[in-house]
Amino acid sequence: MRLRNPLAAAALAAACSLSVGACAAEDDAPTRVTINVYAAASLSEVFAALAEQYETAHPGVSIRLTFAGSSDLAAQINEGAPADIFASANEAQMGVVAEHVAGMAELFASNTLTIAVPRGNPGGVTDFASLANPGLKVVVCAPEVPCGAATALVEEKLGVILSPVSELTNVTDVLGAVSSGEADAGLVYVTDVARAKEVEGIPFAGSASVATRYPIAVLTGAHAPTAARSFVDFVLGQQGQAALLAAGFATSDGGASDVTALNGTAPDVTAPDASAVG
Amino acid sequence: MTLEAVVGMSSRGVNAVLHVPEGTTLALLGPNGAGKTTVIEALAGLTAPDSGHATLGDAVLFSDREGRMRVTESRSRGIALVTQDSALFPHVSVLDNVAFPARAQGASRASSRAGAHKWLSRVGAGHLAARRPRTLSGGEARRVAVARALASDPRLVLLDEPFASLDIEAAIAMRSLLRDVLKGRTAVLSTHDGLDAIDIAHTIAVLDHGTVVEEGATSATFERPRTAFTAALAGLIWLRGTWVEGALALPDGQLVPADGEEFTLGATVAATINPRAVKIVPSTTPGCVCDVVLALEPRGDGTLRVRGSLLWAEVSIAEASRFLPRVGETVHFDVGTRPHAFSLAS
């Protein structure tokens, strides 16, 4: 197709420059390194704080954070999103992007489930078994997503079968249903209760036996692999782990996550060491 | 039910006084834009006048009380309206259009339809009962609209330009239909063509710029129009002059032989002449009027109107082929039978 009209050519050029500009920015700034970190939504607060600390300590490096559900992020990475680092809320989603992982994914935190109830606990929830009360509106994550898989495992381990009124796709939605008072209780991560104002956490016996482990990895498509590696080390290091602990996560021993083995299978949510830390 | 109405609508420059005795038909005559539709719609209740009052028998249609119009809603007026566009309801059959008024008054579907069949037959549209309005010709739709109006058993029938946009045959048929069905009814019909009114209307009212300029019994008014305007509406040639013995003297001095009362010599008189009776004749013809051709107007029906400054004649193309008068040339008209002159109040 030949463009005879200069107006059309200009319109095309304008349209094309958008995508080119996005990529070119990083190459054009040699003194400044930008690291694109794709991190699970549950890491929002703690990673934002960590990025700030890191940037202060490393002038010339800027961290660009993208938060979303791990599966969304994994899908975007597989579709070629310009991510340098992926911090997933479970190992299964790291498995989904296995072919883009440079080296090994490493575990940097773990999270356990807790019962969230609206402030004041109107449903009178006492422990996990009380969630089975008929008349109590309980929301959980759907079994297809990590928090739902963990929920199912807890149900199995404790021998309590729940009849939820809603099975949501992410833990934020569960938290939303609880904090709005629509639901009497929901199963969320300990860290979620810590960051939500309108809910109270009710710990239950046996929660620690089922933990979700968070792996982090530098990706093969990284524009600045060295700087990216440095940030991952920072997260795994003393400062990073302290911040995670403060946010309610259980810290990990930093062991390698065998992402290839997890690819396409159910996540292994048993982390023996998590209970020791939590 | 006698209709007495003063319809005022200042925004449209209308202030018309109407009087329709019970059982008679009034033709509201006037050119397009004279306010005929405004008057008709105000009577029907489609628009609210801003001044005036109207009664139909004992019932008040609207009345102006100290600047506040009291308007009876059209539903309770008992006045049926046949509009120029027929306004049939497009989503029901012809039969149900005509059955509509009875249904509205609570009659059963069966009896309403039986009545509708009767009315359709009456207007010669019985065979159209099952059709949808959009499949009808203009003339057919108008007939159905008349049937529907009559089916509402109205105390007053209003017809707004019932002959508009009908072809000649349909107009003739409609005229004879209206003559038939309006017999004994109180009705007002508007038309811009005076001849339409002759067959049907007992009285006429000529509307010009929103005001009734002339009214009276149809034949009398047409025979003795008091204004050139009315004569023109009636399709007649209007001659105005002074009376001399047995003739009307035109301003230029030519004489048109005419019958008349014993007017005083020099009285201002007028006469109307049917242009169809006017012939173009040789200059030697006694009593002919010498005129100058102003325009040649093809009528589209094989005739040509030769318009002079005083008179005009309608000649066939065949006649015109023998001699073709040209604009600006002199022409001689013969007015045919002697016209009837009448005095004009000066």
Binding site: M1, E144, S166, T169 | H91
Partner: protein
């Protein structure tokens, strides 16, 4: 029709590609051989069935309430009408999650009306009724705007004639006005159905997601995407096909002119 300038055609082709490419992308990821199997799974069928049922109920609600609202709106004049129209049509352009929150705060357990309903033993949240409410909330403007526009195009003449024939308002509405705007109502209803079928955000926020109760096809796709993207694509293609069919039906100009 006159020939169009070439540059306009070029932009039109780009625009068409922009509109079509995502659909092609969706189709390219489908496993066509397994498609029937993926659609035959109980959760896919349940979700699709729920979607169709709730969208039908929502459309009925939209017509029942939206048509009178369209009439009322058309009866207003001037600024009041413009302001009210803007407010009533807002759900059309609101972020769905905002609609969901609004519904929650109105009909939820602690909502303005929901608290009363809940106390009266009519819980709304997490029920199929909540799905219908969410869909109707976002879809009703289609019916309202369509009715209003159709009424604005009418001069009221036939209605006035009907009144002279002795008809009351209800009869005029039934026999004259409603049939007169029938095509517009149908068009609004079809679009409302399509919008209901595609509703996601407000449903998720307000109604939740439970198989057979509140998990419509759109929610099922969102969930399946996590575990079985191919199944999500399969169900997505069904919705695409339905959407195209519905829009094609709605875009067909009325077979007869609206008088």
């Amino acid at each position: 029709m006159t020939r169009l300038p070439r540059w306009l055609l070029v932009l039109a082709v780009i625009a068409a590609a922009f509109a079509v490419l995502p659909l092609v992308g969706l189709a390219s990821r489908a496993n066509w051989a397994q498609l029937p199997g993926q659609l035959a799974t109980p959760s896919a069928r349940t979700a699709l069935g729920l979607s169709l049922r709730t969208a039908a109920a929502s459309t009925a609600l939209c017509i029942t309430l939206g048509v009178p609202l369209g009439f009322a709106l058309a009866a207003l004049k001037g600024v009041a009408r413009a302001v009210l129209r803007a407010i009533l049509l807002a759900p059309l352009v609101l972020p769905p999650v905002v609609s969901g929150l609004g519904l929650l705060y109105a009909f939820g357990r602690r909502g303005l009306l929901g608290a009363t309903l809940d106390a009266a033993g009519i819980p709304v949240a997490f029920t199929t009724a909540a799905v219908v409410l969410a869909q109707a909330f976002v879809a009703m403007p289609f019916v309202v705007v369509s009715v209003e526009a159709a009424l604005a195009a009418r001069d009221g003449r036939l209605e006035a004639i009907a009144a002279t024939l002795g008809a009351g308002r209800s009869r005029i509405l039934r026999v004259i006005t409603l049939p007169g705007i029938g095509v517009a109502v149908a068009m609004g209803a079809v679009l409302a159905f399509a919008r209901s079928l595609g509703e996601f955000g407000a449903t998720l926020t307000f109604a939740g997601s439970l198989e057979g109760v509140t998990r419509t096809a759109a929610l099922q796709i969102y969930l399946a995407r996590e575990s079985d993207p191919q199944a999500a694509v399969a169900l997505g293609l069904v919705l695409v096909a339905l959407a195209i069919l519905i829009v094609a039906a709605a875009a067909r100009p009325g077979r007869r002119a609206i008088p």
